[in-house]
Symmetry: C2
DNA sequence: GGCAAGGAAAATTTCGAAATTTTGTCCTTT
DNA sequence: AAAGGACAAAATTTCGAAATTTTCCTTGCC
């Protein structure tokens, strides 16, 4: 993926102290949240060396809370600590993307199977509601920065989260969320992922139908295909 | 599991600075490693409030590197940060143990299936070697602190690691390792887990045989049972 | 030209005091 | 008795200078 780019900081990292939650949140925690977002949204580029002096200025925080925030992100795999040489944003690779995609497919189907097995009526109602909510906003090719992009992503995520919400395994959901976010980092890195040739509404509708019919094998096959199609698009971009 | 116990620090946390690696390792990283071990070995008890002044003394490190180490452990789920109130060791619960055990079973069989599918001759040789090595040291009820306990555990882990080594998914192996360590924390918390009524050597031999025969369904069933039996023992202890 | 050594500048890490927050105790009010 | 307020002590978090390490540049040697 070419040379390590210089650190690039977006405007969200310059948010004033005023926006810090007033419920005991520390400067370190606040910086952590902001840094995390900037990494996940690729405003801090993969592989980039994190210059502490620059970050201290940009995030309006001292060295100690800054290091603390970065250390916490190291524990999450989003930064890499290089002893005596500071921190670096975790890098990306085609191999990792492939690993994530395959693993997401497995984890998602595992969680889905468990959910179908354990889900109550209320869970079904929630899935139906999330599908309905999603379909009310047809996927479109919106201009970069459009609020509709974020809104669609929110509804999309809500839909997928609802499918597995009844799996009964908090740890599995945490693993799933982690993989999702790392996958999103790739998607954002590769700009807008194309959905040409895909009928997303139909894909989502068919997934929901299989789930609500409690047909685990079909639902799992459909969700795995859904994930694979997205990853294929990204892999194609990386290869070119 | 009763009231939150007071912080208890074992001798390993008082290791002198001399033992810090001389390859650029920071004080923060050194403290992280030691703290991590102490949490995983339950020398720092689950749920315990981590008193920074005491830790600073016990681990011979200042507040900044100490907080940094603790933050990193927060990112790994081993500590919980409580805004303006410091850190706490992550707690344990019967529900979490159950979640981990079930998830470990699923993850292990997934990794095993992939390994069986992808494993080379060299991988098979490694599995055979690990089994042989393990069986050369029959499991016994050794006195606490006996080096044989650690040696057996090392060989045991080596055996299980070898089974899944060819799965080809670094992220899956990381998730698996994480779950294993969290599970080990429970095991250590519950003192020596009993293996009465179990013929561990036979269990290990049968698992290896199925794996080397490339019989994924059988191998997965056996490994899942192996994990379930261990978890059942722990669940029984928690219930009593 | 390539490599090694030395020194200055830049960057990173740590320290410990100051600033801030939380906790605990005592007293008053309802 | 329970709740609230005030205040001191204890604990936590942060700051920024000092200490330490790394990086970069220059010089000299082969």
């Amino acid at each position: 993926m070419g040379a390590t780019p210089a650190i690039s900081v977006g405007i969200s990292s310059a948010i004033a102290d005023d926006e810090r939650a007033h419920d005991g949140e520390t400067l370190a925690a606040s910086a952590y949240t902001r840094l995390r977002q900037d990494i996940l949204k690729c405003r801090l580029m993969p592989g980039a060396k994190l210059r502490l002096e620059a970050l201290r200025r940009d995030y309006s925080v001292g060295f100690s809370p800054l290091r603390e925030a970065l250390a916490r992100l190291t524990g999450e795999g989003l930064t890499i600590v290089e002893g005596q040489r500071g921190f670096r944003v975790a890098s990306v690779s085609a191999g990792d993307l492939e690993d994530i995609a395959r693993l997401r497919s497995e984890i998602e189907t595992m969680a889905l199977r468990m959910s179908i097995e354990k889900g109550s009526d209320a869970w079904e109602a929630d899935v139906a509601a999330a599908l309905h909510h999603l379909l009310l906003l047809p996927h479109g090719r919106w201009p970069a920065g459009s609020p509709l992009t974020d809104e669609w992503s929110r509804r999309h995520k809500r839909f997928h989260d609802s499918l597995v919400a009844a799996c009964g395994s908090p740890r599995l959901l945490a693993i799933r969320e982690d993989l999702f976010e790392h996958s999103e980092r790739y998607r954002r890195l590769l700009i807008e992922h194309g959905t040409e040739g895909r009928d997303l509404a139909t894909e989502h509708r068919e997934i929901a139908n299989a789930v609500l019919a409690r047909n685990a094998p079909t639902a799992c096959a459909l969700i795995a295909g859904h994930i694979r199609a997205t990853a294929s698009t990204m892999m194609a971009i990386i290869s070119s």
